[in-house]
Subunit: 217 residues, 2 copies
DNA sequence: TCTTGTATAGGACTTAAGCCCTATTTTCAT
DNA sequence: ATGAAAATAGGGCTTAAGTCCTATACAAGA
């Protein structure tokens, strides 16, 4: 069993130290870095490629949500757990949209935090029980809204269609035929997809799609 | 636990029926199709995408080795187990080269065949104990041959280098710089790679590389 | 109502990608 | 020694891919 590498992000040195202490006690976890603001968080995440980022939301400059977006954009395989002081439900959906996999209060019991880290490393997602109700109602709202968006990386439904075919090895012409649209439209979608995923061409997009499990192998 | 889907290929209806009977008794296995020759085998394999193909070697027309190559070329994730009447070691290495993962005699005990199927589905490889010696000596020969070839799909060492970078999302120019060769040479290698893998462009090659585990994610 | 997001598509352009040849050099296997 | 495979590279060519901009139509949120 490999240790789970964790990057701690918080603007308060005290909080960072506390978290590091708690996590260091744990056998299967190793803290590989600490960042004191959003910029450093993104920088370190890309450099250290940790399994998990513990991300404080309230930070001066680039906040936790922005940092989450940036990291997820570059390395979708990194799991991000958001930390908040109190129940700030206004951030919840923004965070989910940004790609965070967990949302925990800072006064969480250490053993539960550890559990959450292991869970997210396994690909699961966590929110505090007090918020599950919110989640469900939001989910209901979204699905009644004839399934608007809620796609990975902010991709639209159509963009996901196109990306899937790209990851299948199809050319623009082939995609156009399969989706009954013009090659021009396919190109437009692709330009948007590349921009959203932060990649340069279809090959990188295909790889990204596989890595971030937008498509299955 | 999902059932393992199996395609049976043999030109003798009796053998097919026998195998199907045996395998149908097994809980975790479901026979999804049968083919009576190499052409049908390739056709059905691509259509049904079974986990495992049980492939007879001696068939009129496209034989088992050719069919194995074709299937592996199109869908490297399908596991292929070769069936032979008697110890025909002259085919063994050809089969391994073609991408077969198992090599069993037709008079194998049913429970061992089942075991082999489960093993191959898990990504393991099997040859009869009587042939392991052959394997080892061949392996020794090849490695004494200063590690010549023995690369997936008949790719050369350099081609694997190039393919790895393609699957990393690099452009021809980037690959050229990293490998200290000209862009022209990269293109030449790529043309050869496409031909060998049976794909049309770098995106398909990248996907193929990931699927056939030439590169890791 | 006005605006925003999505899907569609065309014009016009640049360039990376890919193909087909030929050719040289090195390295091995025979 | 000789021949084959592998790695290198260039010429010359075609086309797919990708960018930037504009534009229309529709749906839905504010």
């Amino acid at each position: 069993m490999k240790k789970i590498s964790v990057l701690i992000v918080d603007d308060h040195a005290l909080v960072r130290e506390g978290l590091a202490k708690i996590l260091s006690m744990e056998e299967g976890i190793s803290v590989v870095g600490e960042a004191e603001n959003g910029e450093r968080a993104v920088e370190l995440a890309l450099k250290l490629k940790p399994d998990i980022v513990l991300m404080d939301i309230n930070m001066p400059g680039i906040n936790g949500i922005e940092a989450t977006k940036m990291i997820k954009n570059e390395m979708p395989e990194i799991g991000i757990i958001a930390l908040t002081i109190h129940d700030q439900e206004e951030y919840l959906f923004e965070l989910i949209k940004a790609g965070a996999s967990g949302y925990v209060l800072k006064d969480i019991r250490p053993d539960l935090l550890v559990q959450t880290i292991f869970g997210v490393a396994r690909g699961e997602s966590f929110v505090p029980p007090s918020m599950t109700t919110k989640i469900f109602s939001e989910l209901a709202r979204l699905s009644s809204l004839s399934g608007r968006n809620s796609f990975p990386q902010g991709l639209t439904r159509r963009e996901v269609d196109v990306l899937r075919l790209v990851a299948h090895g199809d050319s623009n012409r082939a995609i156009a035929k399969k989706l009954f649209i013009s090659e021009k439209t396919v190109k437009n979608h692709l330009t948007n997809i590349f921009q959203k995923l932060g990649v340069e061409d279809r090959t990188q997009a295909a790889i990204h799609a596989v890595k971030s499990k937008i498509v299955e192998l």
